[in-house]
């Protein structure tokens, strides 16, 4: 079943930060949402998740930093149980073990509070929590920018491997086209509160149409190296 939301929009302080936008994502599809800072991509991500939840779809959202996802006063076990309850699922040690193995956090002490874990482990825990019950769509907002590159690359690879044989679609929100380019099938480019371009990744990289997409393509890597 295709995931679709129409008429997403948002205002802040009397200014439109997201013009009416429709989003459609196929099962298992990997979509990138790329734009400069302030272009409204996080706002679109939030609006999409809230709308889809209201429509009864199972969507999960992973914020940029674990600080925006975990209560420092509550243990990891509490967060996990709470997330299961929110999906009206009974505790299932097997499910927990599978997800923890997939994201390499099986050694984490669940009795500890978030600050007892490293940030990389916290972020992986948040992703594992988002995957409880296999959501239809996983929205990741700048999943790597709060992490060190080595940890970030490892986390994305683990997530890639976990999603490979599942129907969960992925919406990757980032300012960095270089990061998105090798992970997604389709790319939506955002500029000033609107989606200005939406095309398969190969075509977009070969022939960007709009100024925003051209800038992103031109600056997607630091270096181009000969093979």
């Amino acid at each position: 079943m295709t995931i679709a939301a129409t008429g997403l929009s948002a205002m802040r302080a009397g200014r439109t930060i997201l013009y009416p936008t429709d989003v459609e994502i196929r099962p298992g599809e990997r979509v990138g949402l790329v734009g400069a800072s302030g272009s409204g991509k996080s706002t679109l991500g939030h609006a999409l998740v809230d709308k889809l939840r209201a429509q009864g779809a199972h969507v999960a959202h992973v914020p940029q930093s674990p600080d925006e996802a975990l209560d420092p006063l509550r243990s990891m076990a509490f967060h996990w149980r709470e997330a299961e309850r929110a999906r009206t699922l009974a505790p299932d040690p097997a499910r927990q073990q599978t997800l923890f193995n997939a994201l390499h956090i099986e050694d984490g002490d669940l009795r500890k509070r978030p600050w007892g874990w490293s940030r990389g482990m916290q972020q992986r825990f948040v992703i594992a929590m988002a995957l409880i019950g296999t959501p239809d769509l996983l929205v990741m907002d700048e999943p790597t920018s709060a992490l060190d590159p080595v940890v970030a690359a490892g986390t994305i690879d683990l997530l890639d491997a976990h999603l490979a044989d599942r129907d969960t679609a992925l919406l990757l929100i980032t300012h960095d086209l270089g990061l998105a380019a090798r992970r997604v099938h389709r790319l939506m480019v955002m500029d000033d509160g609107k989606i200005v371009e939406d095309s398969p990744i190969k075509r977009l990289l070969m022939a960007p149409m709009t100024p925003a997409a051209k800038a992103l393509c031109a600056h997607r890597n630091w270096l181009e190296l000969p093979c």
Binding site: A69, D71, A83, R113, W115
Partner: protein, 312 residues
């Protein structure tokens, strides 16, 4: 944990030693001759110099500061609180009587404060900015601004003089406690309401709450499991500070309502320059403070384990 507890207790001992020295030094260096004051109080007349010298020797006042301090602190440590230098009677039984009047009053005031502030703050924060909220804030601001001596007199005028419902003076029956407890309790309620309201609003503004909502956690669970614990931390801090406010208010209230108690014990002892009495009263107050602070410190560490991470 044990390490933390020991370090807290050690800190308490240091504070108490300092308090003992400071009170003794203050009275020692206060203007006027304590021996003269004692002698006057004892004989109710102008006394000859020999009598004053006798009193001075008797109370150990002629031997110098540290000797007098040692002579005073040694029996205290053994649990002997000494005799009044005016009446010659044991201080401790009088002190116990005073405490037995003061503690119920303080507890009643605290109870009134909590019973008003908690529901009021919860009601106000249900819809911030609404007229209920504004009303609660206005009420609390007025409450904080009214001094206890004035509020006490107003309550006496209304309930004791005009309506003649409640007794105003003394402490014979439990009805005698209502007006003083109300005087103190309303002040406590006002400041607790303000702090609890802002703690709740601040706790609701935390960065991780939207993520919980998007995860599907229902409002009631968020309030109970995530907002309440965070709001409790500043609330407990202020609750501790309220104790200082209460002790201060007690002096005023016990005088206005002519109640016996710790405050009137202290005031009359100071007026009579009754060294042993003053020092014991101040020490007992200091102990109460230290113990309450200790309890709050421990409560903090339970509420938020991040606090004190780097201690010890």
């Amino acid at each position: 944990m044990i390490q933390i507890f020991v370090s807290l207790v050690l800190r308490a001992v240091v504070v108490l030693t300092g308090t003992a020295l400071a009170t003794f030094a203050l009275l020692w260096h206060a203007p006027g001759d304590p021996a003269l004051a004692i002698a006057m109080a004892r004989h109710n007349a102008i006394v000859p110099t020999e009598v004053i010298d006798l009193v001075r020797a008797e109370a150990g006042l002629d031997a110098g500061f540290f000797v007098a301090f040692q002579a005073w602190i040694a029996p205290l440590l053994m649990g002997d609180f000494g005799q009044s230098s005016v009446t010659g009677r044991d201080v401790w039984p009088e002190m116990v009587t005073a405490i037995s009047y003061t503690v119920p009053l303080a507890l009643a005031a605290l109870f009134i404060g909590l019973a008003i502030s908690v529901p009021l703050a919860l009601l106000a924060t249900r819809s911030p900015g609404s007229w209920v909220d504004r009303g609660a804030v206005a009420l609390a601001s007025i409450g904080v601004a009214i001094p206890a001596f004035w509020l006490g007199l107003l309550l006496i005028l209304l309930f004791a003089v005009q309506l003649d419902w409640l007794p105003a003076m003394g402490a014979r029956t439990s009805a005698h406690m209502i007006l003083p407890a109300l005087t103190l309790g309303l002040g406590v309620a006002a400041s607790l309401t303000r702090i609890l309201r802002s703690s709740i609003l601040e706790a609701r503004d935390q960065a991780f709450l939207p993520a919980l909502r998007r995860r599907g956690v229902i409002h009631r669970d968020i309030e109970r499991d995530h907002v309440a614990p965070h709001a409790a931390i500043p609330f407990v801090t202020v609750l501790g500070l309220e104790l200082a406010f209460l002790l201060e208010g007690l002096v005023v209230v016990e005088v206005i309502f002519a109640r016996p108690g710790l405050a009137s014990f202290l005031v009359s002892a100071i007026e009579a320059r009754d060294f042993p009495k003053v020092q014991v009263a101040v020490l007992v107050t200091a102990v109460v403070f230290v113990v309450v602070n200790l309890l709050i410190d421990l409560a903090f560490r339970t509420l938020d384990p991040r606090i004190g991470e780097h201690d010890a």
